[in-house]
């Protein structure tokens, strides 16, 4: 990382991402929280761009902003009384503890990892990622897809058992 531009971008993105993450926690309107979450996702994608991992940045935006946040929006819209005041909740303390635990683990991992800089053309990163996924890491890759398929089937089963009319709604 060198140059004023990169530093400026890094600090701006940090501020935006952390601020948005804080907003998710603090905001009392569920929909505002979702929008903050999306902003945090976009901030993370910016970090990937800074690291020259363009492919991952794009994947981050497509999957998290384009797909997952839409699902979260769905969930919020389907939640009864989504607009209520979420001021106090019984889960505040456990959530805080969990957050601290996760943060601790991450800090340890970051400290213990031996970070090396690889002088490699970022142009090839996408192709190498693809090759690695389908050769070295093919088993976890396939397992993940099986898991996703199972989740999909499960979701369909959940909806279907609730209401048989859903079938002919699409017919």
């Amino acid at each position: 990382m060198e140059g004023f531009g990169v530093n400026f971008a890094f600090w701006t993105l940090s501020a935006v991402t952390l601020g948005a993450a804080g907003g998710v926690v603090v905001s009392r309107n569920l929909l505002h929280a979702v929008l903050f979450l999306i902003l945090a996702f976009i901030g993370v994608a910016g970090f990937f761009v800074l690291l020259s991992a363009e492919f991952i940045a794009m994947a981050q935006v497509i999957i998290y902003v384009g797909a997952i946040s839409v699902l979260v929006l769905f969930a919020v819209l389907l939640t009864p009384r989504a607009g209520r005041d979420n001021g106090e909740t019984a889960m505040a303390l456990p959530a805080l503890l969990l957050a601290i635990a996760v943060a601790t683990v991450f800090i340890f991992v970051v400290n213990d990892t031996n970070w090396t800089t690889v002088a490699k053309s970022p142009e090839l990163a996408t192709a190498e990622l693809g090759t690695a996924l389908l050769s070295t890491w093919v088993l976890p890759f396939e397992l993940a897809s099986v898991l996703l398929t199972a989740a999909l089937v499960g979701a369909i089963m959940l909806v279907r058992s609730r209401e048989e009319e859903a079938e002919d709604a699409l017919a």
Binding site: H32, L35, E54, A59, V61, G66, E123, T126
Partner: protein, 422 residues
């Protein structure tokens, strides 16, 4: 791949406008203090993009041309009062919109409602960053340009949702719900269709796709007509254009998520709708229609003119469908996306993968591409026909003429043969 072009580096070679701008900036850098040149670059970019793209495409073709063409299709004149042939109508509209008060309804979520048009505008501008307008006329020649396009074009859905949800209006909420519900349905076949292109050309960079098409002298639309068809349908759903303008369906939910917007806030949505349509057209022209290449013609005609022309050609199809087709219902669109487009896109993917395998592994001649093209065109027609028949599409069973009876009486039973399905 090397750039096979006659374009020189001289500033007067207008076939590539980057020469001119580079010349100006380098000259300015010698005179002016350090750093000012960036400001100058931004100004030149602004003026140039306005003169080359925004004025001819967004204003003249997008606003004026669309209204004029649709007017002709509907046997009326279209704008013809302001300026010569009504050409200044878009500017008059913009002035009018800026003067209007932008109302915010009581009980609306002010911050979100204020932000939504801004978030809607930004991606439309960003999308053009990766479109190659010429051999060197490209702002960001990044490797995953195709993914960038997909990623950025998924953002306006969120802006539209914010607009609809924040306005405290039931029609707006309907629009927001619809746009969110639709978005996943059409994005899956869209991505699968583009995946076939990526698979065949072996790159996700748009510039390299253009060079690939130029190198083999064949446009991808001939190799993968099915992909273009799916892309067109899916993207018209994404852009909210007829026949899939479900989220702003005028006759049903007034204006969908735009119901409560007025003044220039609404104008931003309207203008950027055209911006997105032009961006999607430019993308399709790049990926499917050979981008700035034109079978050797790009040596003589400025490539940026070629791609703008192709963009307008594609945009014309958008206008045409808008002037012709009724609107689908949301469940019909989703059923169409999942039941028809998704299987057909998968079929296209399998076919393309097989051909790519054959072509690369067997080290076949380039002329096999033309054989693949013929095969794929027939496969596309066959797949569309066979899959729609399989799904129960039987147009011949649908009676299109009313029965005629000469005597008044009671109920006339429908003959069994004429009982039509859907």
């Amino acid at each position: 791949m090397a750039l096979p072009t006659l374009v020189t580096e001289h500033w007067y070679d207008l076939r590539d406008l980057s020469n001119l701008s580079r010349e100006i900036l380098e000259g300015a850098d010698k005179i002016l203090p350090h750093g000012i040149v960036y400001v100058l670059a931004a100004l030149i970019g602004f003026v140039a993009s306005f003169l080359i793209f925004v004025l001819p495409s967004q204003l003249i073709v997008g606003v004026y041309g669309e209204r004029k063409l649709i007017g002709r299709m509907q046997s009326r004149y279209g704008p013809n009062r302001v300026g010569p042939f009504g050409l200044l109508q878009p500017i008059a509209d913009a002035i009018k919109l800026m003067q209007k008060e932008a109302l915010t309804p009581k009980g609306a979520d002010r911050a979100v409602m204020y932000l939504a048009p801004i978030i809607f505008v930004a991606p439309a501008v960003l999308l053009f960053a990766v479109i190659p307008f010429g051999p060197k006329m490209i702002l960001a020649d990044i490797n995953p340009a195709l993914l960038y396009f997909l990623a950025v074009s998924s953002l306006p859905v969120l802006a539209a949702f914010m607009a609809g949800w924040s306005a405290n209006n039931k029609y707006s909420l309907f629009g927001a719900m619809r746009i969110v519900a639709m978005s996943i349905s059409y994005e899956v076949p869209l991505v699968l269709a583009l995946l076939g292109v990526v698979l065949f050309t072996g790159t996700t960079s748009l510039q390299e796709m253009v060079l690939w098409q130029k190198h083999f002298d064949i446009w991808i639309v001939f190799l993968q007509p099915l992909a273009l068809a799916i892309y067109f349908i899916a993207v018209s759903a994404e852009l909210n254009r007829t026949p899939t303008d479900i989220a702003e369906a005028e006759s049903e939910i007034v204006a969908g998520y735009l119901t409560e917007y007025s003044g220039m806030k609404w104008g931003l949505f309207y203008g950027m709708d055209i911006g997105y349509a032009l961006a999607a057209s430019a993308f399709a022209a790049t990926v499917f229609l050979g981008g700035w290449s034109m079978f050797g013609l790009d040596k003589w005609v400025p490539p940026w003119m070629i791609i703008i022309g192709k963009t307008h050609l594609f945009y014309f199809v958008f206008i045409w469908t808008r002037g012709t087709l009724p609107r689908l219902r949301i469940d019909q669109l989703m059923a169409f996306a999942w039941k028809f487009m998704l299987p057909v896109a998968l079929l296209n993917l399998v076919l393309v993968a097989t051909e790519r395998m054959l072509w690369v592994e067997q080290e076949l001649d380039d002329s096999y591409l033309y054989i693949f093209a013929v095969v794929n065109i027939w496969a596309a027609l066959g797949a569309i026909w066979a899959w729609s028949r399989f799904l129960g599409y039987r147009p011949e069973r649908n009676p299109v003429r009313a029965r005629l009876v000469n005597e008044a009486g009671g109920y006339v039973p429908v003959p069994e043969a004429a009982k039509g399905g859907k």
